[in-house]
Subunit: 203 residues, 3 copies
C-alpha cells in the first residue's frame, strides 16, 4: 500500500512537471523559467501542505521527487525540440489522475497527524490544486482553477466520499479508492461535458 | 481575555471571508474561485505567521475557523443572489476592526514565542495584511495595500503603540486596547480624509 | 568564518532591500508598498528556505536583518528624494555578489540539517532567487528570473562547483569560495555578454 502510493505520487509529480514545462513553452520562457515552472507545479502543493502540517517537506526527505521532476522536464523539452505536436488531450486525462492522487495523499497525510476531517479535506484540495495555482500566478494567467470547469471542487467532493466511507468505518483502502474514483470521474466528466458550478447570478 | 480574543478573531476571519467572496463576485469567478479567494483572504495572514513562528497553524488546531469561513462565504453568496446591493461602506468599517484585531493577535502570538518587539510588530502587520495581498495577487489586481491610502502603516503604528505601553510595563490589556484603538482610528481616518504617505517626490 | 558569513549575509539583505525599494520607486508606489517590496525581496528567499528546512526563520532569531532592511530602504528613499540619478549599474554588480552569497548560505544551511546535495543546491537557488521572484509577482512584472539572461542557472552551476569540491573532500572554505567565484563570474559574464540558455527551438 505504502510503496504503491509512493509510485503513484511520483507519477503525479511527473505529470505536473510536464504541465509546467508546457506552460513555459507556450510563454516562450527559457532556461530557468522551465526549471521554476516545472518544480513549482510539481511540488508546490505538497510543500505547502507539509509546511502547514509541520511535517518534513516530502522532496527534502526523499530526493527521488527532485530527480523525477528534472527528468520529466528534460524529456518534455527534448520532445518539444523534435516535434511541435504534443498530446495535450492525454496530458489532461493524466492530470485528472494526478489531481485525484495528490488529493488522497494530502488527506492521508493530514489524518496521520491527527487532524480532523474538515482539515484533511482542505489539505487534499491544497495538495491537488496549489501547484497549478502557483504556475498560473507566476505566468500572470488568470488561474485555471478559479474559473470555468469544475476542477478543485472535484477534490472537495472526492474528499467528501473519503469522509463518508471513513465514517462508515470501512477499511482504509476502500476510502482511498472511493476518493480516487469520485475525483477522477467528476474531473473527466467536467472536461467532457463542460460541467460548471455557477454560484453567482449572471444577467 | 483568551476567549474574548478568540471570538473577535473569528469575527475578523468572517469579515475577510466576506471581502474575498465580494472580490470573486466582482471578477465574475465561480465555484472554486469563491472558495479559494474567501479562504486565502481569511486565513492567509495567520497561516504565514504560524508557519514562520513554527507554531501549529491556527485553523488546523481549531476547525471553527474553517467553518466560519465557509458560512460567511455562503451567506454572502446567498445575499448577492437575492440582491445586487451590498453595504460596501459598512464592510470597510468592519474591515478596519478586523485589521486591528489581526494585528493584535499577531503581536501577542509572536511575543508568546519569546520573539523581540520588532519581530512582533512585523508579525502583527503580516497577519493583518497578507490575506488581502494574496487575494489581490491571485486576482491580478495591483494590491490595495501597496498604494494610496494608509493601510498597513496603521498596523505598524498600532504595533508601535503596543510597544510603547509594553515598555512602560502597563498591564497586557492596556497594550491590547492601545494597539486596537490606534489602528482602528488611523484606518478610519485614512478612509474618511484620504490620508496618504508619499515617500517619493512626484514631479 | 561564521561571523564573516553573517556580515556578507547582511550585505546581501541590504542590496536586495535597495533593489525592492527601487522597484517601488519605478512603480510609483508609496508608504507601505516600499516596506513590503523591500522586505519581500530582502528576506523572502531565506524565509521560504528556513520554513522548508524547519529551521527557525533567520530574521526572527536575529533582529539585525530587519533593521538592516529598514535602514537600506530608508537610505535609498532619501537618496531618491535628493537626486533622481541612481547608479543602477553598480547595483547590478552588487546584486550578483548578493545572489552568490545567498546561494552559499542556502547550501550550507541545508547541508547542516543533513539534507542531500541535490536538495542543498535547490535550497541555495531558492534562497538566491525567490526574493526577486516575489518582488516581480507582487508588481505584476514578468519575473526577471524567468526569461532572458542567465540568472538562477548561475546559482545551480555555482552549487555544482560546491558539490564537486565537496565530493573531492576539500576543506569547507574551498567549497564556499568555488561556489562564490563560479556564481559571480557567470552572472557578471551573462550581464556583460548577454549569455542566454535557449531550451526551446524558436522559428
Amino acid at each position: 500500500m505504502e510503496s504503491w502510493i509512493h509510485v503513484l505520487n511520483l507519477a503525479g509529480v511527473a505529470v505536473c512537471a510536464i504541465s509546467g514545462t508546457l506552460m513555459a513553452f507556450q510563454k516562450r520562457m527559457d532556461g530557468f523559467g522551465v526549471v521554476v515552472l516545472a518544480s513549482a507545479t510539481a511540488v508546490g502543493g505538497g510543500t505547502l501542505r507539509d509546511m502547514m502540517l509541520d511535517l518534513p517537506v516530502f522532496w527534502i526527505e526523499d530526493t527521488d521527487y527532485l530527480y523525477v521532476t528534472c527528468i520529466a522536464a528534460l524529456i518534455t523539452i527534448i520532445w518539444l525540440r523534435l516535434t511541435s505536436l504534443f498530446p495535450y488531450h492525454y496530458l489532461l486525462v493524466a492530470d485528472a489522475f494526478g489531481l485525484a492522487l495528490f488529493n488522497v495523499v494530502g488527506i492521508e497525510k493530514a489524518l496521520g497527524t491527527g487532524a480532523g476531517m474538515a482539515v484533511a479535506i482542505a489539505m487534499g484540495t491544497i495538495t491537488g490544486v496549489f501547484g497549478g495555482l502557483l504556475r498560473d500566478v507566476i505566468c500572470r494567467e488568470v488561474p485555471l482553477v478559479l474559473s470555468g470547469e469544475l476542477y478543485a471542487i472535484t477534490c472537495i467532493v472526492g474528499g467528501g466520499a473519503y469522509a463518508l466511507f471513513y465514517t462508515l468505518q470501512l477499511p482504509d483502502i476502500w476510502c482511498v479508492v472511493a476518493a480516487l474514483v469520485t475525483t477522477v470521474c467528476l474531473r473527466l466528466g467536467a472536461m467532457r461535458w463542460h460541467w460548471e458550478l455557477p454560484v453567482f447570478r449572471t444577467e
